[in-house]
């Protein structure tokens, strides 16, 4: 069977005609598609997507790199997925029942079990059942995000959704387990390419962040500094930007009163505070808990005006020059190199200032920088990039309807969605992911998935990845002679798939 493979590099669609087609759609940016530094097509797609796939390759071939990239930076809402995938997602409990109701129902069940007269063993059993329901709902959120990452045409949007969720990392524990789908789709995704300050604001006003970093418990006289500290250290200006412990405490004081309405628990507000009370969904501002004395954060004085003051501090920190540098550096680490050159960061910061922190503009500076082109293919895939890029090699007509293996392997490989317990998010550098245990896991995954096409797709397809398709041939053509030589030695189609997914070239993006 392997003798049928033709590894010679094939030319697909004419690239010259694709470039011409791209011209029109690029006009509004003033960038002719030919301006885009020509980069290796597969490497270019691999970096800007969750992994090269047949459909994305065809899109780029048709539109040209510049036009495709420009469209990626201005997605209109969420991408449309194949109908069968849309149906899977629509059928999920998280997309049918509001999260506040899920939270309420499950916590009420837990309470009634605790109060019930059953034996300790019965109670333990019932508790376990409820915990399983929590877990099932949290798996839905992970499955949903995986499916979007695999199938959405808005690949840059999906990569950034993960990037920003990792930047504003929330670990799912307790009731947060029913809230992660909402965090991904409602809180983060709409803002991933917009102004940074809007994204930051969305997280400040999210019940997920307020719960995770304990601002729900932060009140006048009972200051909880957890969230204030992480905003400064991780979310905005960054460690080393010169803030002090007093700045952290004062930021925490600014944030007092912003919390979460626990479903089923009434919030008591004294009459004199009723006018200033505010609620939007699960998020509440309770003025009775707010510290209304003036406070100084990072050299800026905030006067006690409740929500206004919180909005001011969001603008102040979200637009701070130190934030521009901190965030630009992280974007460059994700898209260029673990230690990006200062000159690139300087340019991104410059664009940040001119565009008032518009992420798409800052990214355009990055994508058009020579360092970006030079770095293509040189970033080691983290486990999620590895797993999702593997799933993206399936032919379009083979629809994944069992996501559990992907979710399980991402847990096993150490990069579970919503599974980073510390608020810093997963590390981006290769050294965190290219250890021996990780490589063993990847080889094992490759073998597992090749041997059991039915694990992801039911009814099982004959082959999971069509080695004879022009797309896979093109991909193999980009691998080294040595790798291709080894793949040709495979004894059957399953071993071929397993070797393809184990190839050194497939470990990089």
């Amino acid at each position: 069977m392997s003798s049928q493979f033709r590894f010679a590099r094939r030319q697909f669609l004419q690239r010259s005609s694709a470039l011409t087609l791209g011209l029109l759609s690029c006009a509004r940016t003033g960038l002719a598609s030919t301006d885009y530094p020509r980069a290796d097509q597969l490497a270019f797609i691999n970096r800007l997507s969750w992994g090269v796939n047949a459909k994305t390759l065809a899109d780029v071939e048709r539109q040209g790199q510049a036009a495709w990239l420009e469209a990626q930076m201005h997605p209109k809402g969420e991408g449309t997925l194949p109908a069968a995938i849309e149906r899977q997602i629509a059928a999920m409990t998280i997309n049918k029942v509001p999260m506040s109701l899920l939270w309420y129902q499950l916590s009420e069940k837990l309470k009634s079990v605790q109060k019930s007269a059953g034996s300790p063993e019965q109670k333990a059993q019932e508790q376990q059942n409820i915990q399983k329901q929590f877990a099932a709902i949290s798996r839905e959120a992970a499955a949903q995000q995986m499916l979007y990452a695999i199938y959405s045409p808005n690949q840059l949007q999906e990569q950034l959704a993960w990037f920003w969720m990792n930047h504003f990392s929330v670990f799912q524990e307790g009731p947060l387990r029913v809230m992660m789908g909402d965090y991904y789709r409602r809180v983060i995704k709409p803002h991933v390419l917009g102004r940074f300050v809007d994204l930051f604001r969305a997280t400040v006003y999210s019940p997920q962040m307020l719960l995770y970093l304990n601002n729900a418990q932060n009140a006048k006289g009972h200051i909880n500094e957890n969230y204030g500290r992480e905003i400064m250290e991780l979310h905005t200006v960054g460690v080393g930007s010169g803030y002090t412990q007093a700045d952290v405490t004062n930021l925490a004081r600014v944030l007092t009163g912003l919390g979460v309405a626990i479903p089923g628990q009434p919030i008591r507000v004294p009459p004199q505070f009723e006018d200033a009370f505010w609620q939007d969904g699960l998020v509440v501002f309770n003025p009775a808990r707010h510290d209304s004395d003036p406070k100084t954060v990072f050299g800026h004085v905030f006067h006690g005006k409740g929500l206004d003051e919180i909005n001011q501090v969001i603008e102040f920190l979200g637009n701070h020059p130190a934030t521009a540098r901190h965030i630009s550096t992280q974007l460059a680490q994700f898209f260029v190199a673990e230690n990006p050159p200062k000159e690139l960061i300087d340019r991104m910061v410059d664009t940040w200032q001119k565009s008032h922190g518009e992420i798409a503009s800052v990214l355009r500076t990055l994508f058009y920088h020579r360092e970006f082109t030079h770095s293509l293919g040189k970033l080691f895939k983290d486990p999620l990039h590895y797993l999702i890029s593997a799933a993206r090699l399936l032919p379009d007509e083979v629809v994944i309807n069992h996501t559990d293996p992907l979710v399980n392997w991402s847990n096993l490989m150490g990069e579970a969605l919503y599974g980073r317990s510390t608020p810093d998010g997963y590390q981006l550098g290769a050294s965190h992911w290219n250890g021996s245990g990780q490589m063993a896991n990847r080889f094992e995954f490759a073998g597992f998935i090749a041997a059991r096409p039915g694990a992801l797709v039911q009814p099982p397809p004959k082959v999971l990845i069509d080695m004879n398709s022009p797309f896979i041939q093109e991909l193999l053509g980009s691998f080294s002679t040595q790798t291709r030589k080894i793949i040709e030695q495979a004894k059957n189609s399953r071993q071929t798939v397993s070797l393809l997914l184990s190839a050194p070239e497939f470990m990089w993006r």
């Binding site: 300790p120 590390q427 021996s436 245990g437 063993a440 080894i486 030695q489």
Partner: protein
């Protein structure tokens, strides 16, 4: 107990001083081949039901439903001295080790972190940094491996590299719970060839070597009938994919290949129904039994190497001294750490102690921390590997090693 004083630390230390100078370790790295295994009980185990302060009235008042009965009562705790007794589920496993002076307990141990958050406290412990630094990419076991340099052969027996082992030194991880997968020889050869020109070639070779070592050791154990014998001896009580089987694998791997290991066990967050009719039975008792059974196989599997091994069992915090309304306990502070090993000067309860009363409890809620884990572990590392003060500062910045005369 509230009326009596415990052993004075000073007395405990004096006993240790002269008697054990000639035991396995001198403070010189050239002697022997010390091994250290850290077992982390994630979830904050209820240490007051492990090392039971049975002379304390407050203990029995505060735990009307979940206390472990006194040693004099049926199914009672196992008396260790006039104040402390061990959970009865450890009668055939850890008690004999204690009696052979190969196990010691350190009550009132823990960290200064008072957040009572699992994750914050676990991270705090695993990072083990000074008060003013928080680098999420520098765990204390990784810093220890860095200090030991080529003397360290480190491994995590977990699915993922724990925070304590993350950092500059590249440390392998190899899970030992359940079946260990081994790749067939043909596939392995193809993969090695595939990677021969790749920068990842050494990593891939390490992956296969580790896997091969583990599977060969396991095969050897199986052919010796060791695992089968162990499972038979337990009359079916031992789950072959449980901790006892894992511990046997760890024992062999630490005996033959590694000297710095990490393992963790979850499921200790017993907010509800932690016991049966009394604290002697139920969920927590079963957990102790499984842990004890695992620890007890180490001397046999490790053979002579057990004499050079120190195992420390820790947890992020203890739990409330009084039971809650659900026959469980909530997040507390001070815990009890276990120190085991063939060369450990055990058979005693060590470290500073206080009589338990409403006043001596931390916030009248849980145990105070009187022995900082960094001092305890730093002191052990110092003795095991003859670390200099500068090296110890690298492992645990701003911490003073405590000499509890355990090794």
């Amino acid at each position: 107990m509230n009326r009596r004083q415990f052993l004075q630390t000073t007395i405990a230390s004096c006993i240790g001083l002269a008697a054990y100078n000639s035991r396995v370790w001198a403070a010189s790295p050239s002697n022997g081949n010390p091994r250290f295994l850290l077992i982390f009980l994630r979830g904050g185990y209820d240490s007051a039901n492990l090392l039971v302060p049975y002379s304390s009235d407050l203990y029995y008042q505060g735990r009307p439903n979940i206390a472990v009965p006194k040693p004099s009562e049926p199914n009672g705790a196992l008396e260790l001295n006039s104040d402390w007794a061990l959970h009865p589920s450890l009668k055939d496993t850890v008690l004999p080790l204690y009696q052979r002076q190969q196990a010691a307990f350190v009550p009132f141990a823990g960290t200064a972190d008072l957040s009572r958050s699992h994750f914050e406290t676990q991270d705090h412990i695993e990072l083990g940094q000074g008060a003013h630094t928080r680098d999420f990419n520098s765990g204390f076991l990784n810093r220890l491996a860095a200090v030991l340099h080529d003397r360290a052969r480190s491994i995590a027996f977990t699915n993922q590299l724990p925070l304590s082992m993350q950092g500059k030194v590249r440390i392998a991880n190899q899970p030992v719970v359940g079946k260990i997968q081994s790749m067939n020889e043909a596939q392995r050869q193809l993969l090695e060839q595939m990677y021969q020109h790749s920068s990842l070639a050494p990593t891939v070779r390490t992956a296969f070597t580790t896997q091969q070592q583990v599977t060969e050791d396991m095969a050897q154990m199986a052919s010796n009938g060791y695992v089968a014998e162990m499972i038979a001896a337990s009359r079916g009580a031992i789950n072959p994919s449980g901790f006892q089987a894992a511990a046997a694998k760890i024992g062999v791997l630490m005996r033959d290949h590694y000297n710095l290991g990490f393992m963790d066990l979850g499921g200790w967050d017993t907010h509800i129904n932690q016991t049966g009719v009394t604290g002697a039975e139920g969920q927590l008792a079963n957990k102790f039994a499984e842990l004890g059974a695992g620890l007890a196989v180490l001397p046999d599997t490790m053979g002579k190497a057990w004499n050079e091994t120190v195992v420390v069992v820790i947890s992020e915090f203890g739990r409330t001294f009084r039971e809650n309304g659900n026959r469980g306990t909530d997040h507390g502070h001070g815990s009890t750490y276990w120190v085991l090993g063939g060369g450990v000067h055990g058979g005693k309860i060590v470290g500073e102690q206080v009589a338990l009363s409403e006043k001596t409890l931390n916030q009248n809620r849980d145990w105070p921390v009187l022995t900082d884990y960094r001092g305890l572990l730093g002191g052990l590392f110092k003795r095991l590997w003859g670390l200099t003060p500068a090296e110890l500062q690298q492992v645990f910045p701003d911490a003073k090693p405590a000499d509890l005369q355990l090794v």
